[in-house]
Every structure is written in structure tokens, then in C-alpha cells.
Point group: C2
Chain length 232, copies 2
């Protein structure tokens, strides 16, 4: 299938890119810079993997997000909170309707260049605190993409049955160097090791039983995992 792959340069989407390269014809790798603190850290990794695979890489600017939207991920926002994603404090890191925006850009690009589908690395461990990660949203968006384009562009979510540890295992099996990916929302020189996404990254390697190649600024003990929440 001819596809556009959304790739931020993070662990999930870089793995999705390498997986897609084995099963699809990738017409473009798409990254978006929306003015978040960590975009400058992660997008170069997307560029590196696209280049290694010999694929065209498009970086689009969504600068208006930082100008008009509110989120702790944006320079205008509160500091990035620490702890588990499930904590209410992590709601601050939501960029409103980000996935819809990214999928709309990817779908317009896909239709423009003759692709039939868009690949997003959404996974089963994605957080119910983010409304635009939930299954029901993704199904509605898939419908909107199919109905709102001439070729009926589809949404592919190859990792939907995996959690993040499963993605780390998949990356190891594919030979993807996860040291060349970025997760930390703080966007400093090194991964901080303590924000929600660093905790999740460290845990995923631990649960997967795969050595973590990431240099962290600090490695505070991993907090106990909160009990799984009860659905959406």
C-alpha cells in the first residue's frame, strides 16, 4: 500500500516507520514542528531515519499552535510536570486536538501525492487522559479521512495492539537503534529521566527486557505503576 508515515522522531513512530518500510511503499515521512519544547530534539531523529531508509522527509510548520493553543508542552505553558502519565497533572501536557491536526495534514499530503493511507504509531498503551488518543476518536477520524477525500484515505494503526514495551521489543526485532529517538518533553540536551514520558520510556525498556541505550540526565527510581484505569 502507498502510505504517508507520521514520524515525530520518537520511539513509537520511528519504529512504526521501520516496520512500514517492510510492508508498504512509503511515499513520504511527515514531521510537524508545532513549537513544543522538544520538537527541535526529536525531528532531527525523524530526518535521520528517513534518510537512512532513502525516503523523502517533509517537515511542516504549525507555528500557530504555539501562538494560539495552551499546553505545558509549549513555551508559553507551565513547566512540564513529573510523574506518571495517568496523573491528572499530565493533562497539562495535552496539546488540544493535536492528533486531528497531524492527521489532517498527513491526509491532505497523502491525497496530494497519491498515497492511499496514513500510518500513525498510536498504540494500546496510549493514554486515556488524552482524548485524541482514544479509540473512539481514532475511529471517527478514520471515517472523516475516508469520507473527506477522493481516494478514501485510510488510517493505519499497526501498533494498536501493542503497548510501549511491545514496541520496544518490535524495534529490537527490526534492528532499530532506539538510541536514535527522542521522548523527553523537556527538550534539553539529554533526556531528563524524570518527566512522564521519560518514566514511560525507561519503564518500557525495563518491561521489554531490552537494554536502554538512552543517556539520561538523572535516573531516579521508577515510581510504582499506578493501577490500570478502567477503560475510556
Amino acid at each position: 500500500m502507498k502510505v504517508v508515515v507520521l514520524c515525530s522522531g520518537g520511539l513509537d513512530s520511528v519504529t512504526a516507520l521501520h516496520a512500514a518500510a517492510r510492508s508498504h511503499e512509503i511515499l513520504a515521512v511527515l514531521s510537524a514542528h508545532y513549537g513544543a519544547r522538544h520538537n527541535d530534539r526529536e525531528i532531527p531523529f525523524a530526518a535521520r531515519h528517513a534518510a537512512a531508509l532513502g525516503l523523502p522527509h517533509r517537515i511542516v510548520s504549525l507555528a500557530f499552535v504555539a501562538e494560539c493553543f495552551t499546553s505545558a508542552l509549549l513555551p508559553s505553558g507551565a513547566p512540564v510536570p513529573e510523574g506518571h502519565y495517568e496523573d491528572q497533572s499530565m493533562r497539562q501536557t495535552v496539546v488540544p486536538f493535536r492528533n486531528a491536526l497531524l492527521l489532517s495534514v498527513a491526509t491532505g499530503l497523502a491525497e496530494s501525492i497519491g498515497a492511499e493511507a496514513v500510518v500513525i504509531a498510536a498504540h494500546g498503551g496510549d493514554h486515556a487522559i488524552y482524548p485524541d488518543c482514544r479509540e473512539a476518536f481514532m475511529r471517527a477520524m478514520d471515517e472523516a479521512m475516508r469520507l473527506g477525500t477522493y481516494p478514501g484515505i485510510r488510517l493505519l494503526r499497526p501498533f494498536i495492539d501493542l503497548d510501549k514495551a511491545g514496541i520496544v521489543r518490535r524495534a529490537a526485532a527490526l534492528g532499530v537503534d532506539l538510541g536514535q529517538t527522542w521522548s523527553c518533553y523537556r527538550g534539553q540536551a539529554l533526556h531528563c529521566g524524570a518527566c512522564g514520558t521519560c518514566i514511560e520510556r525507561r519503564e518500557a525498556f525495563q518491561l521489554a527486557g531490552v537494554p536502554d541505550p538512552t543517556p539520561y540526565q538523572h535516573q531516579p527510581p521508577l515510581p510504582p505503576r499506578p493501577p490500570p484505569h478502567s477503560g475510556e
Copy 2:
């Protein structure tokens, strides 16, 4: 209801803006510049009406659309075709998935500033040649907006039961100066009078029985209206 109003500066959305100002609390008027030939002509009209109503106006840049997407509306595209919208040639003027993109931006802004809904001037005469104008797409997008945001942002389409002539009548009733709106896809100093959107504009005034205040470059006789197409 607290709303964000999408307003391009065209006849439909300027009328929708004035109608919304009577029935809603408008938190922001939103225009997008996506590099189309006519954006520079239409957005100043949106700004003028927002200012006249004392409302904050946000203009976001979607420059990547002109860089990455294909359409006759974009500088990279073929010339804007003449004739009726229903003609197959007008398919060239589709900007892929534009409405989804605009609604995603508006929804993220709405959630960020505490609005509950987004107003779009989609109307019953919108063209089935544009997939992202169709009823089924709009319903799916409404679902995606509701499910993908914390407050469950809604999509309002107050003109969905009107055609363009009906909007011209509504504007006349509201006292909106439609001379201060822009339709022509060619984006020259004056409305060309002959492209699909100029033909539609001229016809709408004629059908509404409202004097057309628009200065046109040419006013070729209006072509006969094609028979209504058979649904979606």
C-alpha cells in the same frame, strides 16, 4: 454558546459571522492563510468585519499547504478553470482535506480558549465535487471533534439548510455589506466575474433578488445552470 467562527472573508462566512454575533458569544474569529491565490484578497475582509464587531481575529499560517499539497487554487497549480462548479474541471480547485484542516485548527483553538463549539458556514449548496463538503464527512468530523477534546467541542453549521442565494437573503436581512467580502479564486484586484466561484456569486444575488454590490472585471452572461446532480 461560546464559539470560534471560521471566517475566510468570503460571502458565506462573513454572513455566518454576523449571524453568530447575534446568537452566540464569539471568543475568536479565525482565518487561515494557506497560500492560495485569493487568500490575500479575502482575509482583509474577515479582519474588517471582526474589527467592526469588536472581536479578536486570529490569522494562522498554513504555508505548508502551498508547499506540499496540489490544487489549482495554489500558485503551483494549474490555472483556475472557468464555468460551473459542477463541472469536472472544478475538481482541480479542491485543496485536499482543507475543511478537516481548518476545523482541526479551530477546534484546538476553541479548546484552548474555552469555547464550546466551532461555527463553519457550510451550506446546503456546497458542492458534492468536494468530498470534505459532504454531509457524511461533516458528521464524522463533528464526532471526531466531540470525542477528541475534553469539553466535547461541537460543530455548528447554521447555514446547512440554506443555499447561497438564501445566504445572500440572510445577509441582506442582517444588514451585512456583501460588497465587503471576497469570492474570486483568481485573487486579482477585482472579482474576475467568470471563474466558478464568481459565477456562483453572481447567480446567488440574481436568484436572491438582491442587488449585487460587487465590482467585476467582466460580466459574461451567466451560463445555463446544470441540472441538479443526483445526491452524493
